[in-house]
């Protein structure tokens, strides 16, 4: 049976599953989102000159359906998606994003086993203490297409009054060729208490082969309108993989092998991630969120400039603007592709400011997100207008504008702006 036929059968089966769920007291949520995207590419950026290094689509359509089912303690999130653009062949995928069993051991203790999304920390766009969560992007904090995947874990929760304790063991184990392959192991402990209006958590996290991370997060409400929050996570050294060029004084070199290394793995310096923020709700319902994020794993302005010089040098070779021996042209292309791995959806540099304004009136809602790289002044601006047609149907238009100088993080990205138009159906 072809993938298309399997997907078709699953779509046909969904209404029957819903009907069964209704009859069996199964809790469910179902959504289908169809989102079209049009993008204007930056053809001058050395990261992807004339869209040659890593060809990007200018138009795309993404259809995603998510089904959440819960029966007793067993819950699962199933994801079915179809993606098409003008660069690659259409892609269809089915994923079990979550499949977990929650067992209530007593009035005070719960056990969870399976694949599940856990998110810790009160930050809106950034979560330094989200040590157990899947990777996500600050420009889409609400994961509108439901793309985050759960992690395989065993979690024990204890609840006493306004306090709780969570102990999690994670193993990114996978089954392939009928065999279970153990993955990287993590362990995390969270102790939470609520004291005089202050939400306070302490966090320990250990990843196999790495050093212990220690963190805390908090949130506090002042009066009717203001909420403040913060997160902090620190450890000695950093296992973050850096491009070696940032520690080199020669940006005009070609690496013969994969150039990323954990430069500060054995350092005794403290590397921390810090978030402070707050949200204010005006009397008319307008909600404003502001956050500042500092990540010492990120590149300094000098390191970024060194990396950009390296990228420009490799791009110059690719475009023939810099003379190079013919046998170096192909390695230089690999160098350019490897260099792109420095870019992170969580931010590549050290300091970021995030702003969000949200207002809804009747069936309309308006969201305006700004993400500013405080090191180089570049920014991403994301306005979204949503209209609620009915309880089941939504439509939205979302723009994304990247702005900044040619040498800045967001100014150098592949895209100048893009627009998404989506329709959502919820059941």
């Amino acid at each position: 049976m072809t993938t298309r036929a399997k997907i078709f059968m699953i779509i046909i089966a969904l209404p029957f599953m819903m009907a069964y769920a209704d009859a069996q007291d199964v809790d469910y949520r179902f959504s289908v989102v169809d989102e079209g995207t049009l993008s204007k590419l930056d053809l001058t950026t050395p990261l992807n000159f004339h869209n040659q290094t890593l060809p990007q689509p200018t138009s795309a359509n993404n259809a995603v359906s998510n089904l959440f089912l819960e029966y007793g303690g067993l819950s699962t999130s199933l994801n079915l998606s179809a993606f098409a653009n003008n660069v690659e062949a259409p892609d269809y995928a089915f994923a079990i994003r979550e499949l977990a069993y929650d067992l209530s051991l007593s009035d005070n203790f719960d056990l969870t086993v399976g694949r599940k999304i856990l998110k810790w920390g009160p930050g809106y766009a950034f979560n330094p203490t989200g040590v157990v969560e899947p990777q996500r992007t600050p420009s889409d904090p609400s994961d509108r297409l439901g793309q985050n995947d759960g992690r395989t874990l065993v979690s024990l929760n204890g609840f006493v009054g306004k306090s709780s304790l969570t102990l999690v063991y994670l193993n990114d184990a996978k089954i392939s060729a009928g065999k279970l392959h153990g993955g990287e192991q993590d362990g995390a402990l969270r102790v939470y208490t609520f004291l005089n209006g202050l939400d306070l958590s302490g966090i320990l996290h250990y990843r196999e082969g790495d050093r212990l991370e220690v963190g805390t997060n908090w949130s506090y409400v002042i009066g009717q309108n203001l909420e403040l929050h913060g997160e902090f996570l620190a450890k000695r050294g950093s296992s973050f993989l850096y491009h070696q060029i940032i520690a080199s004084d020669n940006p005009e070199q070609i690496f013969a092998s994969y150039p990323y290394v954990a430069l500060y793995d054995h350092s005794n310096d403290i590397f921390y991630k810090l978030l402070v923020g707050g949200q204010y709700t005006f009397d008319n319902g307008l909600n404003v969120t502001i956050e500042y994020y500092r990540n010492l794993d990120g590149l300094t302005r000098g390191e970024w400039n060194q990396w950009m010089k390296f990228v420009k040098f490799q791009n110059g070779i690719q475009q023939g603007a810099i003379a190079a021996a013919p046998e170096l042209i192909q390695p230089s292309r690999y160098n350019l592709l490897w260099a792109l791995q420095t870019l992170s959806p969580r931010g590549t540099m050290r300091d970021y400011l995030f702003g969000r304004e949200y207002y809804s009136v009747n069936a309309w809602s308006f969201e305006f997100i700004q993400l500013l790289n405080a090191d180089d002044g570049s920014c991403v601006i994301i306005p979204t207008v949503s209209y609620r047609i009915s309880e089941n149907f939504f439509t939205y238009t979302r723009g994304t504008l990247f702005a900044g100088s040619a040498n800045s993080e967001y100014g150098a990205l592949f895209t100048t702006y893009s627009m998404n138009i989506g329709v959502e159906f919820h059941l």
Partner: protein, 255 residues
Amino acid sequence: MKTWSRVIIAGIAMAAALTSSSAQSADDANRSKLTGDEILQTSDLSRNGWNSYSVLTTIINYEDGELKEKGSFDVSIKGMNKTLVKFMNADVKGQYLLMVDDDMWIYMPNTRKPIRITPLQRLMGDASNGDVARTRYAEDYSAKLMREESVNGVPCYVLDLDAKRDGATYKRIEYWVEKETKRPKKAEMYLASGKHYKSITFDHYEETGGRVLLTQMTITDRLREGRTTVMKYASYAEKELPEKYFNKDYLEKLR
């Protein structure tokens, strides 16, 4: 007029005066017996049937008389200070609001984590979270009996409610409670800035589970002209709710 007749008339007048005076005294005595806080505590019983219960709440939002939004919520209340609101509409299914004392958290299935929110953030329309979650005013406000007056011909106590804490939904409430039944009749809500924020009328009460409980109230926005919200209550049921349901970190398990 004969002397006897005069005596009888005078007697009747005196008796009437005495009766009236004794009724006034009884009323005064009655009034002196019930403090504002006591009236408020009694009136709360019309909105909370049991110590631990659930109720289906529907919020209907109108603008200039036109229906704009309708939302359904499964509200669980435990004791004096704990409320858990489950969102029932298809577009917000899986969303929860937890309120413990004055503190609130919202859990959204997309973000997958409880987020602390301020009392002014709304569930929908002109109903604030506090309008849904905080139904025991005696916990949040201290009451002073100001006067008595009739509302649509129904004699009422007029209470002045002052927020006991900064986190209460409103800074001040003018509260009319029916004298005879001690049920809330109407309310005027004010913000800390002194602005007149909302007016509420308590429209219908019905007998359910052996108690007479509120089944409909209407909120009129005084800051935005023409906006009203009707809140309907149905399926009141006494329910045992585990304590852990009201712990912030348990929200990620409720889904």
